[in-house]
Amino acid sequence: MTGETLLETRGLRVHFPVRSSGVVRRTVGRVKAVDGVDLQVRRGETLGLVGESGCGKSTLGSALLRLVTPTGGQVVFDGNNVTTLRRSELRALRRRMAMVFQDPYASLNPRRSVGESIAEPLEIHRLHTGSQRRRARVGELMEMVGLDPDHRDRHPHEFSGGQRQRVGVARALAGEPDFIVCDEPIASLDVSIQAQVLNLLKRLQRELGLTYLFIAHDLSAVQHISNRIAVMYLGRIVETGDRTTVVEQPKHPYTKALLSAVPLPDPAAERRRERIILTGDVPDPISPPPGCAFWPRCPYRHDERCATEPPPLREVGPGHHVATFYDPDRPA
């Protein structure tokens, strides 16, 4: 999928200060949720961002829309530096970049009808003015996501999880965005509904020429919907590449472990597979280790640099980048 770069981040950092309690609040530490991320998303493609809890993927998604303020680095969207925009320009940008949230129960205001929630971007950006035209547009959007426009005046609690998620998608589409960040859009849904929403997102991308950043922890779903995949660990990108390469020829030890842990709906394959079981827990971003973030759990660790130097992201194949010192060809 080629196209020019629509969105790019350079050295993006999002650090949250941890303050002590009390009248005088001192900063006692920093949570390095996103710690130096370089990412490119091309127009028309879906970049899948995958990682476990605490890796910072959701924070990254929010930072792209400046819902959290980046502490360092840049986000460049279609040539505009998002990080330095003024309030008014940011509002205009929020029309072109939209977001679909994880929790279908929490992402809709319970006091407003679904029609009103979907129409919100239209009101904010003054699109399709006039109550007739607005109603028509809301109806159109609802049809696009597979909902009945006659239900526009009903409230969220009257709909199921899958339907509410569709409302969220309709709302994201209202401003005719170029780019949508999907933050774990299917994680809270039943299995049979997940497929519906995935199929919906794919169809919309085809029909409307959308670009997605698809954030999820489910590697199978990510591979299914993405063109390229980026793997995140403790605030850093450890591997990127097209979806086949990352899944079939992973180079980073964490990617390998992650892939081996993904359950497969095939009992025979499950029995055959050799699992790389990691020791220890998913780490806490408040005190990342110096050097390679994955080093404490790495089953290989055969380079002295691992403990002291953070490995840079380097190209190991066409479009395939990895941040590791691990080299399977070199003896331990």
Binding site: S62, L65, L67, L90, R91, A92, R94, R95, A98, M99, F101, Q102, D103, A106, S107, L108, N109, P110, R111, R112, S117, E120, P121, I124, H125, E143, G146, L147, D148, D150, H151, R154, H155, H157, E158, F159, S160, G162, Q163, R166, G168, R171, A174, G175, I193, Q196, N199, L200, R203
Partner: protein
């Protein structure tokens, strides 16, 4: 939810435009406010309160038409008479009809109560919204000021204000309004702290909504419930405060009848003519009780406890 009309076609692979999961709500659920009203009316104490308050409002609005005598109709020859056919609640030391004075005193109490709470609402809620939403310095500045006001016992505070402004009904309204502002600010702020973290607020921001829009359309409607409850409770206390101020002579000035004043006057006649102080006191008691009960009932009715039998078992099966 029986067979959905749209699903009568054979199922599809891939996603169909309309038939998957798209049936929508099977039947329109009851609008929220009607459901709340239903719960409220089911509560016997709430119904009692509402009736009492309705009575009060009628007395306040149509008192002059309903009262058998004027509030200041002096008839010295009939002074200190007990309840009788002519004077249902007796007469006071000047021969005035106690019933008429109680009925007309309702208007003062309610007026002061509603206006004072109105002032507290219009001052306190925006302060709480701003403090809770923006946090940090704004929060500190606003809430510490509220704390200062809170630190004073309500009555002393009111007296202090009236000492500056001078006694009278209008000034009493202002004084009580100031006294009750902090509680509304606090309650609003507490709710705002929760609501501002909600995902739908983030979603609104992601759509480009301004802070004002978010506060108006997303935050305020979702913090309304505790404010409504507090309004009812504060009305009770405001009326009580007015009575207290009138008791010590700072509230409504004679010749305007006010329950507190009547209580004060009745003090001297407890032995001979207990009815002079008793009935105004009873009126205060019933009014305050009703507002409190209403507040409790509202708290229960507005509680998001609309769970089905299955959900209340804590399992989603």
């Amino acid at each position: 939810m029986s067979v959905d009309r749209e699903n009568t076609e054979p199922g599809t692979t891939g996603d169909a435009r309309r038939s998957d999961d798209a049936g929508g709500p099977s039947a329109p659920a009851e609008p929220r406010w009607r459901e709340t009203l239903g719960i409220l009316l089911g509560n016997k104490l709430a119904v009692f309160s509402l009736l009492m308050l309705a009575l009060l409002v009628v007395a306040a609005l149509f008192g002059s038409l309903l009262a058998p005598y004027g509030p200041n109709e002096v008839a010295v020859e009939n002074r200190l008479q007990g309840p009788s056919g002519a004077y249902w609640l007796g007469t006071d030391e000047l021969g005035r009809d106690v019933l008429s004075r109680v009925v007309l005193g309702a208007s003062v109490s309610l007026q002061v109560g509603f206006v004072a709470v109105g002032i507290a609402l219009f001052a306190g809620v925006p302060l709480g919204l701003v403090a809770g939403y923006y946090g940090h310095l704004v929060d500190d500045a606003v809430m510490r000021s509220m704390d200062v006001l809170f630190a004073f016992p309500a009555i002393l505070m009111a007296i202090a204000v009236l000492a500056i402004l001078g006694p009278g009904t209008t000034n009493a309204m202002i004084a009580v309004g100031i006294v009750y502002t902090p509680i509304f600010a606090r309650i609003t702020r507490a709710s705002v702290l929760t609501v501002r973290e909600e995902v739908y607020v983030r979603a609104a921001r992601a759509s480009g909504a301004s802070d004002l829009r978010i506060l108006r359309l997303h935050v305020l409607p979702n913090v309304a419930a505790p404010i409504i409850v507090q309004t009812s409770v504060s009305l009770a206390f405001a009326i009580l405060s007015e009575a207290a101020l009138s008791f010590i002579g700072l509230g409504a000035q004679p010749p305007r009848p006010s329950w507190g004043r009547m209580l004060a006057d009745g003090r001297g006649f407890i032995e001979q003519a207990w009815w002079i102080g008793f009935f105004p006191g009873l009126a205060i008691f019933l009014t305050v009780l009703s507002f409190n009960l209403l507040g409790d009932a509202l708290r229960d009715a507005l509680d998001p406890r609309q769970r089905s039998a299955i959900q209340s078992m804590g399992v989603t099966a």
